[in-house]
């Protein structure tokens, strides 16, 4: 597994760290370009027909999440995607493409329809992050994300996910658990925004570019990590420069994947999907069964324990390491 993680795409050659940083930041900017094609823009180009559905049947209709039916090159599909606005007014109405819980619950309704009526699902991911406001928390954004992820892992129909712009953390993966994950060339995908990462780990959001590079958030890097299966080149200066051509290229890939996935029996498809996500994460495994060391031992003992795990004892209660009750540590997102 570690081999797989060490990349399929070797870097073309040594690159100066500052150049790499600038290149990465350029991609982040492209992913966030205001004229980048959105879910409905792409569908308008690639589909012959779109019928939106609305509402989560419990609280509201979230304009930051577009769901419905579409016909793409003869494939009838259910589509789901975050939808940013084209201008300020639309962005206000669509909350800058940051869905509230009702957006993810609408997405789950769409997935359920897809499963029951035998339609494949195509998702378009373009989200800075799920909406972080108090109302979003109150109505259970975490619950909605977790349920949506869970539903996708067991949905009995093919799922093609496309990262088209910003793949922002939990708000992204909530609709990105595909059998195959495609990314546009300048899309990015990360566990936290580069600004957030920099603020926590570098104590300065000025280091966002540094953080973006460290997190390897470009589409190419994500492909190297195995998180993205396929990267689709963008035309000219980027997707924003030519929506039609971007959509045309995406359509070709999406249709090919739908053709492929629809030939796989559902049980095999689900087993493969489970395995795809089951395999993520790089770790080593030693056979020894260590337990926490007894309290009040010296650092040297602890180092020796680490170097030789078999030396460890099955100890009894040591409550609370010194820093446990400090404020939230910087290592987490």
């Amino acid at each position: 597994m570690v081999d797989r993680l060490l990349g399929r795409r070797p870097v073309a050659g040594p690159v100066a760290p500052e150049d790499a940083k600038a290149e990465m930041w350029n991609r982040v900017q492209l992913a966030r370009n205001l004229r980048r094609p959105r879910t409905l823009d792409l569908l308008a180009e690639m589909a012959d027909e779109i019928i939106e559905i609305h509402g989560d049947r419990a609280f509201g209709d979230d304009a930051a999440m577009a769901c419905g039916f579409a016909r793409i090159d003869g494939h009838r599909v259910v589509f789901i995607g975050q939808q940013k606005g084209a201008d300020t007014d639309e962005n206000v109405r669509r909350n800058f493409g940051m869905p509230h819980p009702e957006g993810y619950r609408k997405a789950m309704r769409a997935m359920d329809l897809a499963e029951r009526f035998g339609l494949p699902v195509v998702t378009f991911v373009d989200v800075p992050g799920a909406h972080p406001g108090p109302e979003s928390e109150e109505r259970g954004i975490a619950e909605a994300i977790a349920r949506s992820i869970g539903l996708m892992t067991r949905l009995r129909t093919p799922i093609v996910s496309v990262i088209t712009g910003e793949g922002g953390s939990g708000g992204a993966i909530a609709i990105a658990v595909g059998d195959v994950v495609i990314a546009l060339e300048n899309a990015v995908y990360a566990v936290i925004s580069p600004e957030g990462c920099a603020a926590i780990l570098w104590r300065s959001s000025d280091e966002a570019a540094t953080a973006a590079l460290a997190m390897r958030m470009s589409a190419d890097d994500q492909q190297a990590l195995g998180v993205v299966d396929q990267v689709v080149a963008e035309p000219g200066e980027g997707a924003h420069a030519d929506h039609a051509e971007t959509a045309r290229r995406l359509r070709t890939v999406i249709v090919a994947e739908l053709d492929r996935l629809e030939r796989i029996p559902t049980d095999e498809l689900l087993a493969a999907r489970y395995e795809r996500y089951r395999a993520f994460g790089a770790y080593t495994e030693t056979a020894a069964p260590p337990m926490t060391p007894p309290p009040n031992r010296g650092l040297a003992d602890r180092v020796r324990d680490l170097l030789d795990p078999t030396r460890w004892l099955t100890g009894t209660s040591t409550t609370g390491t010194p820093r446990r009750d400090d404020p939230t540590a910087p290592e987490e997102a």
Partner: protein, 336 residues
């Protein structure tokens, strides 16, 4: 201006930090040994201090019943991540400080005689952040629960996904939720216990998905950081925002349970969620009693003409609980 009165309490630095802890809630100086004896709950105000995975396990399960598995898992720096120091150095430092390999411990144990699959997080290890090892242990705990039809119990204490593992940490959300969905489909129960703090990607995956969600009092539980929520939206946060009681009020937590009652509540719940389990004899000296009506009738329902099963070993319970009066009055006291 207020007049400053001379204080007769000893100055703070009169308490050596390794012996005394100041309660952040009531400011009382607490003697560490006594704090440990009270399960790290402030005897004055009830503030719940964070607990190590080991202390948590000792608190929850029957004596000496815990058997750790997968202790040898250790993260690999797949991204070559360097911030102010390289990720491997951070890992090593956390391992030295805590004596743990990563932020979760998993294994099997019995709780009041019920065998369970258990995974417990520890905030002291890099903020309880979820990387490959935490994700893997949670997933294996769920898979073992599925295979052996054991109730799954996960105790969360985490700031969220581990940034140093990038999207591979994010993928742990899908990995763990996938395993939990299989568990749910198989009718195997899962009780999620949220301790302070349970936030970010951990809350937005396995922690929130319990068939029953239990939270310790006043634990910080939320998705986005409160700073983010307030900053992005530029509005006042409601009182008690992202605390256990707030989550309870908004429907995401079944019961807010004080630490001293946790084990009892879990045992109570397991008797409903694992109806068919053959219980081993109790090993803690409690008296035995229980009608077997339900077990018998369940068997009848599933296989109508089956003879009644042997009498199930009965529920051990403390004498004080034995009065056949209902415990409805409890519900106000514990907000559950």
């Amino acid at each position: 201006m207020p007049i400053k009165l001379p204080s007769f309490r000893p100055r703070k630095d009169a308490y050596p930090a390794d012996l005394w802890t100041k309660c952040p809630s009531c400011s009382e100086m607490l003697f560490n040994k006594q704090l440990d004896k009270s399960d790290r709950v402030c005897p004055t105000c009830g503030h719940h201090f964070r607990l190590s995975a080991e202390a948590r396990i000792a608190l929850l399960v029957d004596d000496r019943s815990f058997v750790e598995v997968d202790a040898g898992l250790q993260s690999v720096d797949a991204l070559g991540f360097v911030d102010q120091k390289p990720y491997p150095d951070r890992l090593a430092a956390a391992q030295l400080a805590t004596g743990m390999r990563d932020a979760a411990v998993r294994g099997t144990a019995t709780i009041d005689g019920h065998r369970v699959s258990l995974c417990v997080m520890d905030f002291a290890f890099m903020g309880g952040s979820m990387g490959a090892v935490v994700g893997e242990k949670v997933t294996r705990a769920a898979e073992q629960a599925l295979m052996e039809r054991l109730p799954l119990i996960i105790v969360s204490a985490s700031g969220g996904a581990r940034m140093q593992e990038g999207t591979l940490a994010l993928m742990q959300l899908a990995k763990t939720c996938a395993a939990l969905e299989r568990l749910r489909a198989a009718g195997v129960p899962y009780i999620s216990i949220m301790s302070d703090p349970t936030t970010g990607g951990v809350f937005a995956s396995y922690a929130v998905l319990g068939d029953i969600n239990i939270a310790e009092p006043n634990a910080l539980i939320g998705f986005a950081g409160a700073r983010v929520a307030a900053g992005t939206i530029a509005q006042e946060l409601p009182p008690g925002f992202q605390r256990s009681e707030f989550l309870f009020e908004h429907g995401f937590v079944d019961r807010v349970v004080a630490r001293r009652s946790l084990r009892g509540e879990i045992a109570d719940l397991l008797r409903y969620l694992v109806p068919g389990e053959q219980r081993p004899a109790a090993d803690n000296g409690r008296s035995l009693f229980d009608p077997i009506g339900f077990l018998t009738s369940l068997a009848d329902r599933v296989v109508p003409d089956l003879p009644a099963p042997e009498e199930a070993p009965a529920r051990p319970t403390e004498p004080a609980d034995d009065v056949p009066a209902a415990r409805a009055a409890d519900r106000e006291a514990t907000r559950g």
